[in-house]
């Protein structure tokens, strides 16, 4: 068996689960309440949901979900601009699939496509460059969405387009960065947290060090984790152990992938192409230096300039009754929204957290609809 498969071993996970539960009890006794952890990454949200960890640890540990689903945090205003792009004659909008159904203030890319707009899903931005090359009569705009994991891929594709002289390709960048978002979440005095599970793949790019500020500024135990059952239990074990020993460190438990400095080549690509700007996040408001916009040297590939896309007007924030804002900040769990599972379902999503498969509401709907709310305390 490959060592990678052993991270999914049920017998081993069961044993570790026992240790985690015992540790959690010791910590709860010490704190006088269950420890509260937040996972920042949407893929962790799904993994934790699928494992049913929340109900397994009910009353012992409370696991909340944070802002780490790129689709969920893309602002209305940005989606409206994407919709406007799709309406331009001669324009093909290329995107990662998850973005299609996210509602802006009046429409979504899916609605535009149904109405005749040319909106295409590409698995890799390189495929969009190839499509542009094969269709010189169309302007192909690729939507740069996602965190540190997708930004270098988009940057490398842009470099490819430039090297090949593909003139009808451009990027609409709505990329966002995770560390500033964590800072925004942690700065909320109402949110009482005891530790964080940090995103494994974002960390593969940024490196462990990028998260040292969590200990320096907030004194919270944090752990970089992979996504298999053993990974998540190892992460919880580490957080609980730190709490019990009164320590706070940023520990890398995804050492098979994440290095201290991250992927320097990828970081260089990002820095060459993009600069950090203040951008709005759905649910979190404007966060300083949390977005990536194309540098001036890439104006000829910047859809905002090339196609003269005006910023869309700010719109009323949320569909009435939708609690995504609190959910993205780790303040509420999806079942605590009164629309959850009743009015709002993955088939008829009301808010963005139900649209993306990595959204907390969608993950809960799929795996935890019938479990106790909020760790059952």
């Amino acid at each position: 068996m490959s060592p990678l498969d052993r991270f999914c071993d049920t017998e081993l996970s069961r044993k570790l689960m026992g240790r985690v539960a015992a540790l959690a009890d010791a910590v709860a006794e010490r704190l006088g309440r269950p420890a509260v952890f937040i996972e920042v990454c949407g893929t962790h949200t799904v993994a934790i949901s699928r494992l049913g960890l929340r109900s397994l640890l009910a009353g012992r540990v409370e696991l909340r979900s944070g802002p780490g689903c790129p689709v969920c945090v893309t602002d209305h205003q940005e989606i409206d601009m994407m919709v406007n792009l799709a309406r331009l004659p001669g324009v093909t909008v290329g995107t990662f699939g998850d973005m299609l159904r996210v509602p802006g203030s009046r429409s979504s890319l899916e609605r535009e496509r149904a109405g005749g707009a040319d909106v295409r899903i590409f698995y890799s931005p390189l495929d969009a460059v190839a499509f542009a090359e094969a269709n010189p009569g169309r302007e192909v705009v690729f939507l740069g969405i996602g965190f540190e994991t997708t930004a270098p891929a988009v940057a490398a594709s842009l470099a490819r387009a430039r090297a090949k002289g593909v003139k009808n390709f451009s990027i609409f960048s709505a990329h966002k960065l995770i560390p500033p978002a964590i800072r925004a979440v942690l700065s909320d005095p109402e949110l009482k947290l005891d530790g964080l599970i940090l995103p494994g793949h974002v960390s593969a790019i940024t490196g462990r060090r990028a998260f040292d500020f969590i200990v320096e500024e907030y004194g919270l135990p944090s752990v970089i984790s992979g996504f298999e059952p053993m990974d998540i239990l190892i992460a919880l074990h580490e957080l609980l152990l730190q709490l019990l020993q009164g320590e706070a460190r940023v520990v890398n438990k995804y050492t098979r992938v994440v290095r201290e400095e991250g992927n320097l080549d990828a970081r260089k690509r990002i820095a060459e192409c993009f600069e950090e700007v203040d951008v709005p996040w759905r649910g979190l408001g404007v966060i300083p230096e949390s977005g990536l916009s194309l540098r001036e040297t890439f104006r000829d590939f910047d859809a905002r300039f090339k196609l003269n896309i005006e910023p869309a007007p700010p719109t009323p924030l949320y569909p009435p009754g939708c609690a995504c804002k609190e959910i993205l900040r780790g303040k509420l769990l999806p079942p605590e929204c009164r629309l959850f599972g009743d009015v709002c379902t993955p088939v008829r999503p009301v808010g963005p957290c139900m649209v993306s498969s990595e959204g907390a509401c969608a993950a809960y709907y799929r795996f935890e609809r019938f479990s106790p709310v909020g760790g059952g305390i």
Partner: protein, 80 residues
């Protein structure tokens, strides 16, 4: 878009920075432009068509072995 996939490199074409990987029996072409050196037999983590990191199997082995030893050790009183 956030779903990373893991694959084993079965062919490298250095000229255009691409590789073919095997993902549970299916083949995919990926770009290796974000990684330095990639060899046949390496395991890579792929996001949006790009390998973003190599997977260190030795590290994986060490970590999982450590846990196996710890968890299969039945010495009483070993709770942590």
């Amino acid at each position: 878009m956030c779903l990373g996939i893991v694959g084993k490199v079965i062919k490298v074409t250095a000229a255009d920075d691409t590789a073919i990987i095997d993902v549970h029996g299916t083949r995919r072409e990926i770009s290796i432009a974000l990684l330095g050196q990639v060899k046949v037999g390496d395991y890579v983590l792929v996001h949006a068509g790009f390998a973003i990191e190599k997977i260190d199997l030795k590290e994986a082995e060490q970590m999982v072995k450590m846990w196996e030893e710890q968890l299969n050790d039945v010495t009483p009183g070993q709770v942590l």
